[in-house]
Amino acid sequence: MADDKDVLRDVWFGRIPTCFTLYQDEVTEREAEPFYLLLPRVSYLTLVTDKVKKHFLKVMKAEDVEEIWFEYEGTPLKWHYPIGLLFDLHASNTSLPWSITVHFKNFPERDLLHCPCNSVIEAHFMSSIKEADALKHKSQVINDMQKKDHKQLWMGLQNDKFDQFWAINRKLMEYPTEEGGFRYIPFRIYLTMSDRPFIQKLFRPISPDGHTHTLGDLLKEVYPVAIASDDEAKRYQVVIHGIEPLLETPLQWLSEHLSHPDNFLHISVIPAPSD
């Protein structure tokens, strides 16, 4: 019998095999070999691509290098989204490895945030955790933590230390037994077909009459289109961490086990493959 702990491990150690190629118009001194890397699904692009950067800088002149950014099939990839989310949103159902194009020029100011250093990622990550805890526990848990605990969360993510991260993060996943769950579930629903970046609403894990809310309940409330009615073909896939949980999965369980390290449940709603 597999334990729920194994889910946490599987989520943490999820990897996406990626092939980085330099954008064809970049000026190089010699031909740039593609670079292959296993990217942690729960991390951030700019946090884990030091090696990529180093690899391509070897063939480039310093004056040709501006801020690095990544693009997949014409879509600039937002570094402040977790890598797994980017992949699910843009590249699921494509063949692996995931082919990402690396740019060093023409930063798409309109689409992407600048990421000059890791402390920017840290600030973004910590603000997500704080927002999530505001939803879950009125910020009580995160505020009770010490500075070093916050640091440990970040260091855990940065250094891919599962134990280090979860030693602290489990406190964020606790809730009073009598309430049966968090106050609100921190979730974001991403749509590929929409201009809105994502949908985020207040949603409780338990209905007022005491029933457990499921993933299906959430979608019905927030984005009913995602659920295929019985008579029509499935139009959308609801993907979290590269898998499609059943709609009857309790939301509270999902939030505890399939949240990203930023404590948000990132749900991608993508068009079902047409075949």
Partner: protein, 1162 residues
């Protein structure tokens, strides 16, 4: 904690029970009569019904109460008739008891009461001292009385045989009437109060109880002879009194208090093991001299009292030396009665709302508790009588119960109407009338009142409402008793009581008179209680009870299921997530393992200071620095090294061990240091681990948890143990588990078992048994049975090293023993002044170490004392009345009586201590076990029953029903009758069940199959070489036993000086593992070592040599889960070796283990 019951009687005399696991009062439906008093203990409940007779309700158990009657048939040889029943005139009776002095014809045995039944007919006992006799069961001797032998000799002139027959107590879970007869005919007057207790006075005979009763005339009676085999007791004895008693209370121990009519209290003194009824009374004044006491309740070391003004009092300073205590303390709350239950927990019924209250926060240090909390749970099929009905029924019930006493209480209790009882009754009646009118006006639910009835006829009192009639609302089958009748009763009451003073009072009268006066039927219509008894209710201040706020019944049903796999675990959505995550890692990771990782792993170091038991002589604790360096190995596995930096001759040195070479981390807690040991394969060979001591327990646990996780990481082990896992237990009760490798059984070069990696699992056990499909049971030191929940971690493993949803609290209790030694001298007799050469006057069992009552500590800081020191009478060899054992000198064998040659004596003192921890175990109540065995079976469907047998701590053989993969705890026990207590059991291939009886004889259970899980009869197998056997373990084709000297009996008497053996074998791999007594390593010697028999094969069951594994304090191992087939050449004759079980069953009395010899030879 097993479920137990709180009993209560409502004002209508209906009996209800509330389970500690439940959330509603269950109506005790088979109580045909109304009851007025109850006194409960864990195994039964006594009560006084409205007919003033005493009734007993023995709770049904999976093990029936059965009693063995025996008689001896004696014969003498004469030349004419050979052996015949023609005896000499000077001889004993032809049918006699064992001594021959008493005439015991078989037809003279009668059932003690109608509550008993015969189990079968008389039959001959063919077992004689552990050995089977010839057919007929005769044993021979030269003459009566003499030593009997099995063999008939030339000079055997007499013979005898034993007949046995069982009777069984059949009146369980029902109210059985106890005839009220004293030593000389029926008792003069009926009973008014009853109290049961005293089970802690003595453990012998088993289940002994004291029952005290008060008659209506105020006499006190003691019922003796109540114990497990005679639950009804023998007879009533009158106890002389200084006055007239109204109520009595008896605690679990030697505390008995009673209330006198005048309001004082009396305390029984001189209650001892030999004299449970005590010797004399001491009078204690009422807490308030103005207001007499009406009720008293006692526990182990507490006394609570209620005075006539309903004030509650707690008695200060009660202990075993001072049963009278020292003073009263007034408590908050107004109660009508109080009951003290187990663990001195307190229950009460409040004056105001007649609800049952529980005293919160009662602990051993704060016996008076903190606050009253109302028990608010609904009753099943709650009856909501309309107002008028209830009033009249109350009145009539009152008359019924208390007769003349009632009226007096009306006067005493109702202060308004005290002066004029006639008026009081009138007021009560008119009050009732108005209330009825009022109730009618506010329209009480209509289905309860037949229209027209309410006004036209007087409402029917519930005088003789039988349970079936009062089944529920909407079924108004009232018995029709006229109001006149009730009124007559009421009228009689005051008349009879008129002449008496107003301050006499009995509790029953308090109860009844209160009823009429209270606002009984408020809008919430809560039950009104008259009596509560918590004597059988096992709760303490930590128990989670769901009694205090009404939660829906759904929760309780979910809790009831929690022993099996929780439904959420099997939910489709969860399965889907697990499957998809597996697919995801296959898709996204497995094919791309050669890719570089984005984040490089770095080295991570944890440092600390510790003490180390240094390797060289003189051995002593030295301060060292300790560090664990962790890094990622080449394959992505985490690995690490532990370093130990020390100074040697001013020189800095270090010692290190690779984490992936560490085989086990063992906590070695003792009372002075927080110690643990690190073993590697090499150190196991040396029998010399790295022993370290941390400064605090917390620090030690941190290190142990961290090192343990590192070790598991380095070996790629995570999550719960596999189904094949080998489980073992240390003598400290710590549980370890190891994943077996196929190469352990490899032939001819197996992996040495000192390389096995053991990791700890939370919990505390004495014995563990498993099978190959993942059913694991354990037994605690206190004989509690535990079933493995499938989790891991617990104990000091926190956070990620531990699973979350299947870790539970586990407790264990064991006794610590010390000995008091004395030497005789001609002047003063036995004194504690020994010879200079003698042992300590207070010592351990060996006499080598001094152990005084004050200095002896619990085994480790995890244990806390839960009792005081007490003399232990249950020592083998017997004791005298004060617990002494005598001997000629120290140290020799001791006997329980004094002879002229005895110059020394000793007695054993015991003190219980308790440990609380957590682990993946759940209790299987209620029967305590001493051995358990599970059939090692192959792949099974989840619903298929798995045979599991056990032996209770009383020696009963039990077969568990309903054990499946989904419900590893099973559902119930099936008792398998035996003629004597058993001590070891094992079930092997093809459901062969073998067992060892306490007398050392071996038995085989015939016809055990899936259809007939308990088999049909026992076959006595002669022991090898007439050895007394101790333990048995059965494989598929061979049976291995251990005799009492610790010698193993292999199928053909190959013996080794070892302690115990545990066996498992399957079709191909035959595994024999034992715990050896002593194993010499290169550095040191270890006791209790895991050993593995090499070269055991179906053709060669005795194997070739021992391979020594982890050791030093191991107690138990089970390899019965390991059915991994060893890489081995298939034997051509294998199929022959597997004897079908039918062959075994067809030969009921095979010649012992030669059959196994045959089995492996053919």
């Amino acid at each position: 904690m097993p479920v137990s019951l709180l009993w209560a009687v409502d004002v209508y005399g209906r009996v209800f029970s509330l389970s500690t696991g439940g959330q509603q009062w269950e109506h005790c439906c088979d109580a045909v009569l109304e009851f007025k008093r109850l006194t409960a203990v864990q195994q039964c409940c006594w009560g006084i019904a409205c007919d003033h007779h005493i009734y007993l309700n023995v709770h049904a158990s999976d093990v029936p109460i059965r009693y063995q009657e025996e008689a001896y048939e004696n014969q003498r040889w004469n030349p004419v008739d050979n052996f015949s029943d023609r005896l000499l005139p000077s001889d004993r009776w032809q049918w006699s008891d064992i001594t021959g002095l008493e005439h015991k014809p078989l037809d003279g045995f009668l059932l003690p009461s109608t509550n008993w039944e015969w189990e079968g007919d008389w039959y001959i006992d063919e077992n004689f001292g552990g050995e089977p006799t010839e057919k007929g069961g005769w044993t021979y001797a030269i003459d009566f009385p003499a030593t009997y032998t099995i063999d008939k000799k030339w000079n055997s002139c007499v013979r005898r045989r034993r007949w046995i027959r069982y009777r069984r107590y059949k009146a369980t879970d029902t109210w059985a009437k106890i005839p009220s007869e004293g030593q000389s005919g029926p008792l003069p007057d009926p009973f008014n109060d009853i109290s049961c207790g005293g089970w802690e006075i003595s453990e012998e005979p088993r289940g002994r109880l004291s029952l005290w009763a008060v008659s209506l005339q105020g006499k006190v009676w003691f019922r003796g002879g109540i114990h497990h085999h005679t639950p009804e007791g023998m007879s009533w004895e009158e106890v002389s009194l200084p006055g007239e008693v109204v109520q009595i209370s008896c605690g679990p121990g030697d505390l008995v208090w009673a209330v006198l009519w005048e309001g004082q209290l009396i305390v029984r003194e001189g209650i001892t093991r030999d004299c449970p009824q005590g010797s004399s009374w001491v009078v204690v004044d009422s807490p308030n001299p103005e207001v007499g006491t009406i009720h008293v309740a006692v526990g182990v070391s507490v006394v609570w009292a209620v005075t006539k003004d309903n004030k509650v009092w707690f008695r200060r300073g009660i202990n075993s030396h001072n049963p009278c205590g020292s003073g009263w303390i007034g408590m908050v709350g107004e109660m009508v009665m109080i009951s003290v239950g187990l663990n001195d927990q307190v229950w009460a019924i409040s004056r105001e709302d007649r609800a049952v209250y529980f005293r919160q926060g009662v602990t051993s240090t704060e016996l008076s508790g903190k606050a009253w909390k109302a028990v608010s749970v609904p009753r099943d099929g709650d009856i909501r009588p309309n107002s008028s009905t209830s009033t009249s029924s109350l009145h009539s019930a009152g008359c019924f119960f208390s007769g003349e006493v009632r009226a007096q209480s009306v006067m005493s209790e109702d202060s308004d109407t005290e002066a004029d009882p006639q008026r009081a009754v009138h007021e009560m009646l008119s009050d009732r009338e108005t209330k009825r009118d009022g109730a009618a006006a506010t329209s009480i639910p209509e289905e309860e009142v037949t229209p027209g009835d309410a006004e036209a006829k007087s409402p029917p009192p519930a005088l003789v409402l039988s349970p079936s009639q009062s089944g529920g609302p909407g079924d108004p089958q009232w018995s029709t008793v006229d109001l006149e009748e009730a009124q007559t009763h009421l009228a009689v009451g005051p008349a009879a009581g008129r002449g008496d003073s107003s301050d006499t009072c009995s509790l029953s009268s308090v109860v009844t008179c209160m009823l009429g006066l209270e606002g009984l039927y408020g809008p919430d219509d809560h039950p009104l209680w008259a009596w509560v008894s918590g004597g059988g209710c096992a709760v303490d201040c930590h128990t989670q009870l769901n009694w205090f706020n009404s939660v829906t019944a759904l929760t309780s049903s979910i809790q009831a299921m929690s022993l099996s796999v929780s439904p959420a675990q099997t939910a489709a959505w969860r399965k889907q997530i697990f499957e998809q995550l597996n697919e995801r890692s296959k898709r996204e990771i497995d094919n791309f393992k050669h890719y570089e990782q984005a984040i490089e792993q770095s080295v991570w170091v944890k440092k600390g200071t510790m003490q180390w038991w240094r390797d060289w002589k003189p051995h002593k604790w030295v301060d060292v620095r300790f560090a664990l360096e962790q890094f990622s190995g080449p394959e992505g596995h985490k690995d690490g090294i532990v370093f130990l930096y020390y100074n040697f001759n001013e020189e800095k040195k270090y010692l290190h061990a690779f984490i992936n070479e560490v085989t086990i981390l063992v906590p070695v807690l003792n009372d002075s240091k927080h110690t643990f040991a690190i073993y590697t394969a090499e150190r196991t060979k040396q029998r010399w681990p790295i022993k370290l001591a941390a400064a605090t327990e917390m620090e030690m646990h941190d290190w142990l948890a961290l090192l343990s996780v590192s070790c598991c990481d380095s070996r790629g082990i995570q999550g719960p143990p596999s189904k094949q896992a080998i489980w073992s237990i240390t003598c400290k009760g710590d549980i370890f588990v190891s994943e077996p490798w196929p190469s352990l059984e490899a032939c001819p070069y197996p992996t040495p078992c000192d390389q096995m990696f053991w990791r700890q699992v939370g919990g505390h056990l004495r014995l563990v048994e498993c099978n190959s499909v993942g059913v694991v049971w354990g037994l605690g030191y206190d004989h509690t049975a535990w079933v493995y929940t499938g989790g891991y971690g617990g104990g000091f493993f926190q956070g990620l090293a531990s699973s979350t949803d299947n870790i539970f609290t586990q407790t264990d209790v064991k006794s610590v023993y010390i000995y008091e030694n004395q030497r005789w001298n001609p002047v003063t007799g036995y004194t504690s002044r020994g010879l200079p050469t003698d042992r300590y006057m207070w010592s351990d069992a060996t006499g080598l170490h001094e152990c005084t009552k004050a200095s002896t500590k619990p085994p480790s800081p995890h244990w806390t004392w839960v009792t005081e020191w007490a003399v232990d009478y249950g020592v083998s060899g017997g004791t005298d009345r004060e617990g002494w054992q005598y001997a000629a000198d120290f140290p020799t064998s001791y006997h329980g009586y004094k002879t002229l040659k005895d110059f020394v004596r000793r007695r054993r003192w015991a003190r219980k201590c308790k440990l609380t921890t957590t682990g993946p175990w759940q209790e299987v109540p209620p029967i305590p076990l001493s051995d358990v065995t599970i059939l090692p079976c192959g792949d099974q469907s989840v619903v298929e029953q798995i045979p599991l047998w056990a032996i209770s701590n009383k020696g009963d053989v039990l077969c568990r029903l309903g054990v499946t993969l989904l419900t590893p705890a099973g559902t119930s026990w099936l008792h398998v009758g035996t003629d004597q207590p058993f001590k070891s059991i094992s079930i092997g291939g093809a459901s062969q069940v073998w067992a060892i009886a306490r007398d050392g004889s071996a038995f085989y259970r015939g016809s055990v199959s899936t259809q007939n899980p308990a088999g049909d009869c026992w076959y006595h197998i002669p022991s090898p070489a007439r050895q007394k056997l101790k333990q048995v373990s059965v494989g598929r084709t061979s049976v291995y036993t251990v005799d009492e000297n610790g010698t193993e009996m292999f199928p053909r008497y190959y013996s080794f000086a070892r302690l115990s053996v545990y066996v498992f074998n399957v079709a191909l791999s035959v595994q024999v593992w034992i715990i050896a007594d002593k194993v010499q390593g290169s550095h040191s010697l270890s006791c209790g070592t895991v050993c593995h028999r090499l070269g055991v094969q179906p053709m060669e069951p005795k194997g070739q040599a021992w391979d020594y594994g982890i050791g030093g304090g191991w107690d138990h191992i089970t390899v019965r889960g390991n059915n991994i087939e060893a890489p081995r050449v298939r034997m051509p004759s294998l199929t022959d070796a597997l004897r079908p079980p039918s062959t075994l069953a067809a030969r009921p009395l095979p010649a012992g283990n030669t059959e196994n010899g045959n089995a492996v030879q053919c």
